[in-house]
Amino acid sequence: MISLTINGLNVEVEPGDTILQAAEKLGIRIPTFCYEPELSQVGACRMCVVEVEKARTLVASCCTPATEGMVVQTDTERVFEARRANLSLLLASHPLDCLTCEKTGSCKLQDYCYDYGISESDFKGERLEHALDDTNPFFVRDMNKCILCGLCVRKCDEINGAAAIEFMNRGFDSKVTTFFDDPLEESTCVFCGMCVDSCPVGALTPKESMRGGRSWQLSSVKTVCPYCGTGCGLELFVRDNQVVGVKGDKESPANNGHTCVKGHFGTGFLKHPDRLKNPLVRKNGELVESSWEDALRLVASKLKEFKPSEIAGLASARATNEENYLFQKLLRTLGTNHIDHCARL
């Protein structure tokens, strides 16, 4: 174990743990934009800077390993001023349209400006004017709001593996974009939406969520994704009994918060008029709604009319492994081995 002092308090951490992790252990809050534990640490946003005794400059706590006997201060004036100035610098090229911005209420930039008492930037000057990109069906990219933390870039590369986006240009002209600055649809992007989930500001907004409600107006419902047998945990955002957004559930052991395009953006069926909500039974050539009890009774009686070898079952990829296991068990109990699965088709 490594022992260090933060703001005069002693704390012990594992070798390799960062100053930020040590501070978290003590319940000391340190602001971060570019930090996510599951990604590589890049130390880009410089919001998490702290003062370390004998260090020449401030150090980024998210990527600096704690060392034995280290003396750290997280709340000195020097730290406060640096964070405040960096926030102010970010805000200088960020639109102040919080009144209509979808991210209001869950925006880290907004939260930190509140914490550090910034209502407008101290610096005025040029702003880059990026055209709004809403060409793909799933989310809108407003690069004017991007603070270049790079979470989306690393998420795409390190978690998804698509590596569809990277930084382009240098200095003030830097931006996150695709190879050759092509539209996202023409890149290797698979629209998993994880970049959208990781964006700390309003640069990436799911279309389904627009005008759906403020974060504080939404309730969160945890569920399992209905699309496939993986069983990813999802967090649904609900307003007036309508799903207005989806995010991967970080606590789900099946996916650790990761999603694919279907789970993330495939909610259109929920309120589609053709959606089946009850079983249908064919009566006099027409399908009519029925109760599960009646439908199952009908299936059971029909099964009795056939020899086992005349019965076949088609399992579904949308069911879980366990459900598919039970289904084949049922068929074999009936005496048939005619079982197939839609994923084979």
Binding site: V42, A44, C45, R78, N86, L89, L148, E166, F167
Partner: protein, 594 residues
């Protein structure tokens, strides 16, 4: 048997001022006189005195001709090479004494120098390994190979050599870290991504004495337990790359690179990686990312490259000049090396002297020499007898040293204490006509352009500083701008990720510190004391000189000039936008500024 040797400088500077034409002319002329077997032509590396190139030196008598053109060659052959008469008019003219000087040793530019790293530059043919070996080359490697690697590290540590690329970290300690990192694969990387505007020390060493760098790399490899090196060199240095490539091939042929080097059991391979021209790739972690094929962006340290570097393996990164010092240390010993220089800064440093001095070029001086000696003795003082104002040391990361600091010793610690830094060794001299606010603006434009864009303070802070400086130089400065600059500068310096950002504010901070009155004159009096900021000048017409030709009136975009034909004209100050068009147009020097 040759009777004479003619050395023609073939550094990039002299080549661009016509050295190859001189070579062609000399070859033709020798052929004409059937003297090919009597005179040997050596195309050497850089002599440093680029201001006076192309250089043409005749041995054994050591006669130094400068600013030679192809047209001068027949006379040189006829008079000097055949008749043995010195061609007086082509000798160096000492600007202080007005006398012609025959030997380079009598030129103050050279006599004040201490050329250790540059010992072979301009003396040997860089494309011939034999010439390097004849001057004691590869003896350092030979000695190192008989020593225990740990003792080699110890020797370099004891010498007190510090990195010549910028920060001045102890080279021996760096080697020790890499030595102590346990791994089955280690790399040596030579940082030849010299990017400071106006700096060309590393280029000259690579062009003029590439084997010295290779020998340094080999010794580093043997010391830390590595078997492979990369030289990361800018693609904008084609000559350096070509000569380095030739040197590697020759060293391989001679068994200095390859398997079982000098029968010691030591194997080593050297690769060249050409950089695509990003200033930030001179930062070691960005450089490594670039070799790996990633975007050249720095990453946080620790882990330091000595622990986790190229492809995750322990890597020792040193700059060209640092590595070129190493063979000397091994050959002549740490004690000899540390006898040159000061307490904290051992050895010599090469500077690229540019700007408003009489003698621009490359000079190598012992650490501890004063700025005054460099500027006034080696540099020959300020051009046209103007007044010295400041010297910018260390490129865009460095600072401006005013007249009061002329006697500052040039070493790592003194420069850092004064707000500048050694950097890679750029030295830009400024006279009274240089505007310090405009200078800070120039360097900030450079760093903003070269910021990789990764971290907030560097990306955004340099932009806002640049905008503020632009405003001030355009006469739109406001009260509070100086404080605003200092505020951003402090944040950028204190919280940026890498050395580029941490030092980018230095030109601003030092000019505010030493030339605050110039900032105030711009902001409060709307005046540029150096008379450089166009928008702050007042233009007027000298009635005595004006012929009333109307040329200025026609070119004025603001209709601010009035006057009848053939009568003196007048500039209406309220309408003048200070664009300077009239001044450029006037043939009679009648348009003046104040």
């Amino acid at each position: 048997m040759y009777e004479k040797h003619v050395l023609i400088c073939a550094g990039t500077g002299c080549i661009s001022s016509g050295a190859i034409e001189v070579q062609d002319a000399l070859e033709a002329e020798l052929k004409k006189h059937n003297m090919q077997n009597k005179v040997r032509i050596i195309m050497s590396g850089c002599h440093g005195f680029c201001e006076k190139g192309p250089l043409f030196i005749v041995f054994p008598e050591d006669i130094f001709y400068c600013e030679i053109t192809a047209e001068d060659v027949p006379e040189l052959v006829e008079e000097h090479l055949i008749k043995g008469n010195i061609v007086d008019r082509l000798l160096y003219l000492d600007p202080t004494t007005g006398q012609r000087v025959t030997s380079h040793e009598d030129i103050l530019f050279y006599s004040k120098q201490n050329r250790l790293v540059l010992r072979n530059c301009g003396v040997i043919d860089p494309e011939n390994i034999d010439e390097y070996i004849l001057r004691g080359g590869y003896l350092g490697l030979k000695r190192a190979l008989t020593m225990d690697p740990f003792d080699v590290v110890g020797e370099v540590k004891k010498s007190g050599l510090r990195g010549r690329g910028g920060a001045g970290f102890s080279t021996g300690m760096k080697w020790e870290f890499a030595f102590n990192s346990q791994n089955n694969k280690k790399y040596v990387v030579c940082n030849a991504d010299e990017g400071d505007p106006g700096a060309f020390m590393d280029r000259s060493v690579l062009e003029g004495d590439p084997h010295a760098v290779l020998e340094g790399i080999l010794i580093a490899g043997q010391a830390i337990g590595s078997d492979e090196a990369y030289v990361y060199v800018r693609a904008e240095y084609p000559l350096a790359i070509r000569r380095l490539r030739t040197a590697i091939e020759q060293a391989e042929e001679y068994g200095m690179i390859g398997e079982n080097i000098l029968n010691s059991g030591f194997n080593f391979k050297v690769n060249i990686k050409e950089g695509a021209g990003a200033f930030v790739c001179g930062e070691e972690t960005a450089l490594l990312a670039s070799i790996e094929g990633e975007r050249g962006m720095p990453r946080p340290r620790p882990p330091f490259p000595a622990v986790k570097g190229l492809w995750g393996k322990p890597t020792c990164i040193n700059n060209v000049e640092t590595l070129a010092n190493v063979p000397l240390i091994l050959r002549r010993g740490a004690d000899w090396f540390s006898s040159v220089g000061t307490e904290g800064s051992k050895g010599t440093k090469i500077f690229a002297l540019t700007g408003k001095v009489n003698n621009t070029g490359l000079c190598e001086v012992a650490m501890g020499i004063t700025i005054r000696e460099i500027v006034f003795d080696i540099g020959g003082g300020i051009r046209e007898g103007k007044k010295y104002k400041a010297v910018q040391i260390g490129g865009p990361s460095g600072g401006c040293m005013p007249e009061s600091h002329l006697d500052l010793p040039v070493d790592f610690d003194s420069l850092t204490a004064a707000g500048a830094m050694m950097g890679s060794g750029g030295m830009v001299v400024m006279d009274e006509e240089t505007c310090m606010v405009d200078l800070a603006r120039y360097f900030l434009a450079f760093t903003q352009n070269e910021s990789c864009g990764k971290c907030t303070p560097c990306r955004e802070g340099t932009k806002r500083m640049l905008e503020t400086l632009e405003r001030i130089t355009q006469g739109k400065g406001q009260e509070g701008d100086i404080e605003l600059l200092e505020k951003i500068a402090t944040t950028v310096k204190d919280s940026s990720l890498c050395g580029l950002g941490q030092t980018a504010p230095n030109p601003v901070l030092t000019t505010v510190r030493y030339f605050k009155d110039e900032y105030e004159a711009h902001i409060f009096d709307r005046r540029c004391p150096a008379g450089q900021c166009k928008e702050l000048l007042t233009y007027y017409i000298d009635e005595e000189l004006c012929t009333g030709c109307r040329a200025c009136k026609k070119v004025c975009p603001a209709d601010a000039i009035e006057g009848e034909k053939k009568e003196p004209h007048v500039i209406i100050q309220e309408k003048c936008i200070a664009c300077g068009a009239c001044l450029d147009r006037c043939k009679f020097d009648a348009v003046k500024t104040k």
